[in-house]
Symmetry: C2
Subunit: 444 residues, 2 copies
């Protein structure tokens, strides 16, 4: 039997239903729709974009950082200019050239000890996630778990490798560990292989919330006991409350892990420079081959990378390497000004919501109160889907993200995500005024 | 039934046979082996590495090129510094920011007219290839054709999407078009969907050979009639004989295509700067959705890219954009010095082989005579597999690539690939002397 897709008539074009399924997925449609709305209303105040604050970024620093990293290389190889040039401008090491600086950074900022050989530098954290899922998805039985609501990019990477995502329930403290275990068991009973659970334990996207310490510990134990890897994505961890002796940042899952359960996904898009597109994965698990020899999972991920992007631009890595060197290896220090902006913005949005939506008075709007990061979630008194976002953008010139986009294709919901990261105080006030007018107008 | 891989004991490590099949493929093993040999014998003369010549690259130029591109942006947006900074240092357009310069370059250097909107800027050509195959591989019926011997990276990208590669026979003139048609028909009769054929028509890797004009025309016609896309990979096209009025470069498949049959894969690793890791795909085919609306294949590839690497580093793109601007949009001009080096090296290797292996005398060594590019192929009087390469490296300190690596896992063969691109004349003479001693020693 021959159908139209069996033998495409190229003159008449290809057919979408003959291309990979990810192109017809709700996730892809979500991302397209959100981009289109943002492009269509460039003058709107955007609580939608999760972009880092950019007023402290400049091109001069980029040049200086590249030179700083080049000087570091020069020192390391005794002034051999050909080697410096070869490292920065030629094809290079698949696992990257700033792995030692990354290991040092994790030590300084997160208290995590990692073998630099277990680090693979990637084209943003998104490639790190893809490589990990590509390795874990062997056939149609392999599935990923994710705490819902979840980052759209995680669902996207899973789509690319045809890996279904099974939702795990959240809890007030981050994740319902009992549900995680139940979902994994039920999947196994259906003949599936739950391989890993994706999560953002610190100031998560989209919820803004962080997991409690006890939850972190229980999570690692439960994952280990159930043969699940935990894919810990940590782009916002540095942007918490001002650290103090009485109030230290919560430890990452990776720093608590003693059983090889956690694969750590790192991003420099928010802490380094989004224009470099550099991220990484720490994969220090051992993989046993048919001959009984074991090798680092990182080396296996690097093999996949060699077929995908070959290596991460060493010039882009130099920008991040230089920034790390300029700050003694710490990005916490490097981001002190940005952190202050994010804290201020979060405070302004929380206070602004309180002024505009006093408790017990219509319209009934509620919201959570993250202690850091880029995001918070508001529940409106009515379902806030894509149609209403479009109308709000058109009539009120303010953008937000309907939360249903973070539930892998679920229906309309009352909650919306507000992103505070890249706005100035006056934009926040204007945006909240517009949001309040929109909510009042629609609260019939 | 529960097997060991159903519930991995993480403490004991992951098992390779529980991870994605590409990690156990012969291609992956090939690439690993070749890398290991090269690392183990750093003092060997390498006819193995296909790296571009790097003596004309320097970091000063990189800084200048970034600034040049920034100045171009500034001019385009009327001096709006925030927009320049946002474009270079923030998350950006998925399809890239140098698409217009790329379209102009294709016009100038290849005489190809393309819509800049049909260009997706990628992390090297490898990502372009991956995205194209990811789109085309919907299910297990979809297969790729490739002219054998073929570039290892093409087989690698196909592995990542679980797409089998069916070999098409070469001919003296590049590709046996009748075999292409026969392979596609036979596949279709087996219930498979041949989607595309991958090829490098100009100074191909590994053969060094170029397709004749008539073959190019017949190929496009045959592909069109059989509903196959042609994936034209063109990293070496600029490195032909000195162009003259009587001897113009052969037209690319893309420039001959009137039927939307050719997807063009471009690389700046050899013509721009390998350290930027920038390539692109021109995908001007139309894709028809379920609602009958058509959109550019490029836009569908960009959707996949948004789930894979989000966008290509704008700073890395600026390096290539600046180089294009500095050279009036032409990379042919920009590479005149490099082209002269490649021509010289190819001549030195061909003459050197002739002196060391005179016709009709033992050891009987023959070779092809490409008119440009980085590679040529020598047939030795004995099977030249991985074991012999390792021995040659150890005993004679000269590296080459066994051709069996380019046949997707075929057995040992007598032919080897020699790469000439990055060597100096004295290295070429030393390397050929060593090769001759090795061949004589093993020609029992």
């Amino acid at each position: 039997m021959t159908s139209a897709t069996d033998r495409p008539d190229l003159a008449a074009g290809l057919r979408l239903d003959g291309l990979h399924g990810s192109l017809s997925s709700p996730t892809t449609k979500s991302m397209n729709f959100l981009n289109e709305v943002a492009q269509h209303y460039p003058d709107a105040v955007s609580f939608a974009a999760g972009r880092p604050y950019e007023e402290f970024l400049d091109l001069e620093s980029v040049h200086r950082q590249i030179d700083r990293f080049a000087a570091h290389l020069r020192e390391r190889c005794g002034g051999d200019e050909r080697r410096v040039r070869g490292t920065l401008l030629q094809y290079g090491r698949t696992k990257g050239i700033i792995h030692e600086l990354i290991a040092r950074n994790l030590e300084l900022d997160e208290g995590v000890h990692v073998d630099p050989e277990a680090v693979v530098v990637t084209v943003g954290c998104q490639e790190a996630l893809y490589l990990t899922l590509r390795a874990l998805r062997r056939d149609e039985r392999d599935v990923l778990l994710a705490v819902m609501p979840t980052y759209v990019g995680a669902a996207g990477a899973a789509h690319l490798v045809d890996m279904p995502v099974l939702p795990v329930a959240p809890s007030a403290d981050g994740v319902d560990v009992d549900d995680l275990v139940a979902v994994a068991r039920a999947a196994r009973e259906r003949g599936l292989r739950p391989r890993a659970c994706y999560l953002v334990p610190d100031f998560g996207n989209p919820s803004g919330l962080s997991f409690g310490l006890e939850t972190r510990e229980r999570l690692i134990e439960a994952a280990r006991d159930n043969g699940l890897l935990l894919l810990e994505d940590n782009p916002y961890g540095l942007f918490g409350p001002e650290p103090s002796e009485g109030n230290p940042p919560l430890p990452t899952l990776k720093s608590l892990d003693r059983s090889g359960t956690v694969v750590y996904l790192g991003s420099f898009a928010k802490t380094g420079n989004p224009g470099a597109r550099v991220g990484y994965v720490v994969a220090d698990q051992r993989v046993t081959g048919p001959d009984g020899r074991t090798e680092l999972l990182a080396d296996r991920l690097a093999e996949l990378k060699s077929m995908l992007t070959v290596n991460t631009s060493p010039l882009a890595q130099a920008v991040i390497g230089g920034k790390l060197l300029e700050n003694g290896g710490s990005l916490r220090t490097a981001n002190s000004r940005e952190s202050a902006v994010y804290r201020r913005n979060l405070r302004l949005v929380l206070e602004g919501l309180e002024r505009r939506f006093p408790a017990g008075r219509r319209p009934y709007v509620t919201w959570n109160r993250p202690s850091g990061g880029f995001f918070l979630v508001c529940a409106l008194p009515f379902a806030a889907g894509d149609d209403l976002l479009e109308r709000c953008a058109r009539e009120h010139r303010v953008l937000w993200t309907p939360m249903h986009h973070f539930y892998a294709g679920g229906g309309a919901r009352r909650d919306i995500r507000l992103s505070v990261s890249h706005l100035e105080p006056d934009e926040i006030e204007t945006g909240l005024d517009r949001l309040a007018r929109f909510v009042s107008a629609h609260d019939a």
